[in-house]
């Protein structure tokens, strides 16, 4: 019958259980590639500033003098460009989404990298050439 086209699907769905999940009690489905949020390791950063130059939404700010690295989570679009461009592996993408916040937060890190005495020029060369 023309008006009962949906019946087969309805009956199947009745037996099949719910298709949705009770988020946030049950976490959202993520895969290994999911772009959730960017994590920063201040110990390996050599302040080459490639990440802040590549960021399409100006979410990353770097103060070379003060050795401060900042990320504005509300500007970040989790595109992953900074992660790909970082030559020292200081940035990584985690699959979990960043938890909701109620006020504007800028995460601030102090870069702990100490420039070695020898070879003194190498990090500067890499940042300029890349």
């Amino acid at each position: 019958m023309g008006i009962f086209q949906m019946t087969k699907t309805v009956l199947r769905n009745l037996a099949g259980g719910p298709a949705t999940r009770q988020y946030p009690a049950v976490p959202a489905r993520t895969g290994p590639l999911t772009r959730g949020h960017v994590v920063f390791d201040p110990a390996t950063c050599r302040s080459c500033s490639l990440c802040s130059k590549r960021c399409p939404c100006e979410a990353i700010r770097l103060d070379k003098e003060a050795k401060v690295w900042e990320i504005d989570r509300m500007r970040c679009i989790a595109c992953g460009d900074c992660v790909e461009s970082c030559p020292f592996g200081s940035l990584a993408m985690e699959p979990e989404y960043f938890s909701p916040v109620v006020e504007h937060v800028v995460e601030r890190y102090t870069i702990t990298y100490v420039k070695p005495e020898k070879p003194a020029k190498k990090p500067a060369d890499e940042s300029a050439g890349a």
């Binding site: 699907t9 895969g31 590639l33 999911t34 399409p56 992953g80």
Partner: protein, 359 residues
């Protein structure tokens, strides 16, 4: 002569996913004229091209629309590649085609759900979105994003799909197609759906062509116009015939989209089985100098990115014409004669995407 009254429709309306405003001039319950107005969510993304480097703008182009995001990135990248004479590897073309068709699948399934919702068929709405979720899962597994894929870049693609995942996708296509055909049968054969849609919002082939209709709106009226026929990305290798209906009413536009879902599944199946090996991207050096009119077939019709570079890292001008803008004049032509209660169905039948339109 009955008294004429004006009823505002939108910008906030339960059936509208995004804000568009129509002033409906009514005689009793019948629409005699519709006056559209847009401009509620202009974001100035075209101007942003002067502030972002041409390789970074891909991320902005992707965010023009939340549904056909991959195709905006593809259209923009193709334009830059043509200006800079970059040869994209074959594997990148095939991957771009697969992700484009996945985007089309999830866009059409989303639209079918919204359309069912607009005619009050809640059950069908939920079933469409349930099927859409499985496409989004595939997109998330292969690209890392459900709706903003972020895999297209100037010169190729950023990610590969492994042989194992491709085989898994290929295996999943048959049961998925069976489910889509069950869903499509309801849209195409159910008497209540037919009763609601047939003969509603009719636009003839000549009118559709003259008013510049694009995509399923044009193809529902018998204008066999699909940009995939020109063979960009891997469509040239795969071969493609546009889906055309001739009635020109809401039912025909719905039928075009249902059949395009089947066509997309078929394209993905063939793209996976013919996937060539090779590199994913080529290194891009220099800056674009020149102009190009890049075109791609989106779920809603043909999108145009006009790009002009001046030899610097920042482009001088971008102009983006999206299919919904082209479909507003046909919509204004479709509405007169419809009952007020049918207006939501007619408006949704062009698949309005206002974020795209206003950029």
């Amino acid at each position: 002569m009955p008294e004429r009254i004006i009823v505002p429709f939108g910008p906030q309306h339960p059936v509208l996913p995004e804000p568009i405003h129509l002033d409906l001039v009514l005689e009793d319950e019948t629409v005699v004229e519709a006056v559209p107005s847009i401009g509620y969510i202009h974001r100035g993304l075209e101007r942003l091209i002067e502030k972002r480097e041409y390789t970074e703008y891909v991320y902005v182009a992707e965010r023009i629309c939340g549904i056909c995001s991959f195709m905006h990135a593809l259209c923009y990248s193709q334009g830059i590649e043509e200006i800079m004479k970059i040869e994209v590897p074959d594997r990148a073309h095939y991957l771009r085609t697969i992700w484009s068709e996945c985007s089309r699948l999830h866009s059409h399934l989303l639209w079918l759900g919204l359309f069912a919702d607009s005619m009050g068929f809640e059950n069908l709405f939920m079933r469409s979105w349930q099927l859409r979720e499985s496409v989004l899962d595939v997109l998330e597994d292969t690209t890392g994003g459900r709706v903003i894929q972020g895999t297209c870049k100037v010169g190729g693609v950023r990610r590969d799909i492994g042989a194992e995942k491709l085989a898994e996708m290929h295996r999943a296509l048959d049961p998925f197609e069976a489910q889509c055909r069950d869903l499509g049968d309801v849209f195409l054969n159910d008497e209540t759906v037919k009763y609601r849609l047939q003969g509603l919002g009719v636009i003839s082939k000549d009118e559709a062509y003259a008013l510049g209709a694009a995509g399923p709106t044009a193809r529902g009226s018998g204008v066999a116009m699909d940009h995939r026929e020109t063979g960009y990305a891997a469509y040239g290798d795969l071969g493609f015939k546009p889906v055309v209906e001739t009635a020109g009413d809401c039912y025909a536009r719905c039928a075009v989209r249902v059949k395009e879902v089947y066509a997309s599944i078929d394209l993905i199946r063939r793209a996976i089985s013919e996937m060539p090996e090779g590199s994913l991207d080529v290194k891009v050096k220099g800056a674009p100098d020149g102009e190009y009119f890049s075109r791609v077939e989106q779920p809603r019709g043909e999108v145009v990115h006009y790009l002009r570079g001046n030899g610097t890292k920042h482009l001088a001008r971008a102009r983006i014409r999206t299919p919904t803008l082209a479909n507003i004049p046909p919509l204004v032509k479709m509405l007169p004669g419809a009952q007020l209660a049918d207006v939501p169905v007619v408006v949704l039948s062009i698949d309005p995407c206002i974020s795209c339109t206003e950029r």
